[in-house]
C-alpha cells in the first residue's frame, strides 16, 4: 500500500491515530462500566454470587490489607516524629497519623493492594472463562455475564472496600501507636486520647467514600480487561497485567480528584 501522506505530516497522523485510539478505549470502557452499573442497580440480582464475591474480595483481602496498614502506620509515625523534630512538633505524631491514615493512606493503600490482588484476579478469571467459552455458555443458559459475573463483583467491591478501609484505618493507627509507645516513648493513654480527640467524622467519611469509588474502579477494570481478553495464556496474562496497572493508575487519579473535591467542599 502506498503512503500518500507527506513525511512532514506523518507526526500529525500518529498523534491523530493515537488520540482516536485513546478516545475509543475510553468510550468502550465507559460503555462497559455503564452496563455494569445498570446491571448492578436493577433486578434480577444473583445474591449468592454477590455473597461469594464479598467473601473473595473482602474477607480474603483482610490479611494483606491488615499487614500493609500496620507497616504504613508504623512508618508514618516514625517519619512524622523525625520530620517533626526539626521544628519541635514531635508531639503531633498521633494527630497526623490518624489524619493521614483516615483521610488518605488507609483508602489509598487498600485500593492499591486490591488493584493487584483483586483486579488482576478478576481479569484472569474472566479472561480464562472467555477463552474456554464459559462466557458464551453463560449466555446460552440465559445468565447474561453482565448480571451473573460482572455486577456481583461490582456490588461486592463497592460494599467491601469501605469495610476493609475501616479495618485498615484501625490497624494503621494501631501501627503508629505501637511504634510511638514502643520506641518513641509516647504515653499510651495520651496517644490514644490525642488520636480520638483529633479524628473527625469528616476524615473517616472522606476515606470511606474514596474506598467505595476505588471498589468500583477495581471491579470495572478487572471485568473489562477480562472480558476483552484474547485467546491463550498470553492473552489472559496480558488482561491481568492491564487490569492491575489500569486499576492502580485510576485509583491514584480518582484519589486526587476526590481529594480536590473534598477540600473544595470542606469535607
Amino acid at each position: 500500500m502506498t503512503d500518500a501522506v507527506h513525511p512532514a505530516f506523518r507526526p500529525f497522523r500518529w498523534v491523530g491515530h493515537g488520540t482516536i485510539a485513546v478516545l475509543s478505549e475510553i468510550g468502550r470502557l465507559a460503555r462497559f462500566a455503564a452496563g455494569m452499573f445498570g446491571a448492578a442497580i436493577t433486578p434480577p440480582w444473583y445474591s449468592g454470587q454477590v455473597w461469594q464475591q464479598c467473601v473473595r474480595i473482602g474477607f480474603y483481602s483482610l490479611p494483606v490489607v491488615g499487614l500493609a496498614a500496620v507497616f504504613i502506620g508504623a512508618a508514618l509515625a516514625l517519619n512524622i516524629y523525625t520530620g517533626g523534630a526539626r521544628f519541635n512538633a514531635e508531639q503531633f505524631v498521633p494527630n497526623i497519623v490518624v489524619l493521614g491514615i483516615t483521610r488518605e493512606l488507609g483508602a489509598t493503600i487498600t485500593g492499591l493492594m486490591l488493584a493487584g490482588r483483586v483486579s488482576a484476579g478478576i481479569a484472569a478469571e474472566i479472561g480464562a472463562m472467555r477463552v474456554t467459552e464459559q462466557i458464551d455458555a453463560l449466555k446460552t443458559l440465559s445468565a447474561p455475564p453482565n448480571r451473573f459475573l460482572y455486577a456481583p463483583r461490582l456490588i461486592a467491591a463497592v460494599i467491601t472496600l469501605p469495610l476493609l478501609v475501616v479495618v485498615a484505618n484501625i490497624i494503621g493507627v494501631m501501627g503508629g501507636w505501637m511504634v510511638s509507645v514502643g520506641t518513641l516513648d509516647f504515653d499510651s493513654t495520651t496517644y490514644i486520647r490525642n488520636t480520638l480527640d483529633y479524628m473527625t467524622a469528616g476524615d473517616v467519611w472522606a476515606g470511606l467514600i474514596k474506598a467505595a469509588v476505588f471498589g468500583a474502579v477495581i471491579a470495572i477494570m478487572g471485568c473489562y480487561q477480562g472480558d476483552r481478553s484474547q485467546a491463550g495464556a498470553t492473552g489472559v496474562g496480558r488482561a491481568a497485567t492491564l487490569s492491575m496497572v489500569g486499576a492502580a493508575v485510576l485509583v491514584l487519579a480518582t484519589n486526587f480528584m476526590m481529594t480536590t473535591l473534598f477540600v473544595r467542599i470542606g469535607l
Binding site: Y46, M129, T132, E133, Q134, D136, A137, L138, K139, T140, L141, S142, A143, F148
Partner: protein, 257 residues
C-alpha cells in the same frame, strides 16, 4: 424437509466478516423439528461462526436468523432469552463452569433461569446425569476432576437438562478416542430422539456425521455448497464434498497449512 414442514431454525443469507476476512458469505440453511442436520466443513471454514450467529453469540452483518417463525437476528432482550430457553448447546470444549460442581453445571439453567429450588434442581441434574451414563458419585466433583469424555457427557447433560427443542453440537467428538467418540454419538442420538428435538451439529469427524445425521450440508468458503441426505454423501457428485469425505489432500480444496 417436506414443503409442509415449517423449519424450526432458518438462516437466510447470513454474512459475517472479521476485518477483511469474509467468513460467512451468505449462508442459507434450515432445520425442521425433530431432524438432525450435520454441517461439515474444513478447519477455518466458518462452522463455529455460523453456529454463534444462529445462537445470537455473534450478530451477522447481513441476513436473517429465524427461530420458530420469529426473526431473532438482532434481538438482545427477552425475545433472545425466550429463544435460548428452548435451545441447548454442547460446546467443543464442553465449557463447564469450573467453579461449580458437576450437578450445579447440569442444573445451571434450572436454578438461575427457571428458579427451581436447589434440592429439586439437584434431583433433576442427577436424573439427567443418569441419562448420559454418569452416576451420582460424579455429581459433587468439579469439572477438573473428571476425564475429557466425562466432561463431554456432563456438557450433553447440561444441554438437555431443560428439555430443549433444538440442540447445537459444536464438534462433539473432538479430542476423544474413537470408542468414547462413538459412545458420545450414541448418547446424542438417544437423547435427541428421546426429546424429539431438532439438532444442528458441526463437525469434521466423518464417522460422527454418518452416525448422527439425517441430513448433511457442506460449508465451503462461507457458503453451503451442497446439502442432501446422509446416505448420499458418498455419491454426491460434488467434487469438494467428495474430496472432504474421502480425506484427500489433492482436489479443489487446498489444505489449510
Amino acid at each position: 424437509m417436506t414443503p409442509a414442514e415449517k423449519p424450526l431454525l432458518k438462516l437466510a443469507g447470513v454474512r459475517k466478516s472479521f476485518g477483511r476476512n469474509d467468513v460467512l458469505r451468505g449462508v442459507d440453511i434450515d432445520v425442521a423439528p425433530g431432524r438432525s442436520l450435520v454441517i461439515l466443513g474444513g478447519s477455518g471454514s466458518g462452522k463455529s461462526v455460523m453456529l454463534k450467529c444462529a445462537l445470537g453469540l455473534m450478530t451477522p452483518e447481513a441476513g436473517q436468523v429465524i427461530f420458530d417463525g420469529q426473526d431473532v437476528t438482532r434481538d438482545t432482550g427477552r425475545e433472545r432469552e425466550a429463544m435460548r430457553a428452548r435451545v441447548g448447546m454442547l460446546f467443543q470444549s464442553a465449557a463447564l463452569f469450573d467453579s461449580l460442581t458437576v450437578w450445579e453445571n447440569v442444573a445451571f439453567r434450572l436454578i438461575y433461569a427457571d428458579k427451581l429450588k436447589r434440592s429439586d434442581a439437584r434431583d433433576r441434574a442427577i436424573e439427567t446425569l443418569r441419562k448420559v451414563r454418569l452416576g451420582e458419585e460424579v455429581a459433587n466433583l468439579r469439572p477438573a476432576e473428571i476425564s475429557g469424555g466425562m466432561q463431554k457427557r456432563v456438557g450433553l447433560a447440561r444441554a438437555i437438562a431443560a428439555n430443549p427443542e433444538l440442540i447445537f453440537f459444536d464438534e462433539p467428538t473432538t479430542g476423544l478416542d474413537p470408542i468414547t467418540a462413538d459412545a458420545i454419538n450414541d448418547l446424542i442420538i438417544e437423547q435427541v430422539r428421546g426429546l424429539g428435538a431438532a439438532s444442528v451439529s458441526i463437525t469434521h469427524d466423518m464417522a460422527s456425521a454418518r452416525k448422527i445425521a439425517d441430513e448433511v450440508a457442506f460449508l465451503y468458503e462461507g457458503r453451503i455448497i451442497w446439502r442432501g441426505p446422509v446416505a448420499s454423501i458418498d455419491n454426491s457428485g460434488n467434487e469438494w464434498l467428495d474430496q472432504f469425505v474421502n480425506g484427500r489432500a489433492d482436489g479443489p480444496i487446498q489444505p489449510a497449512l
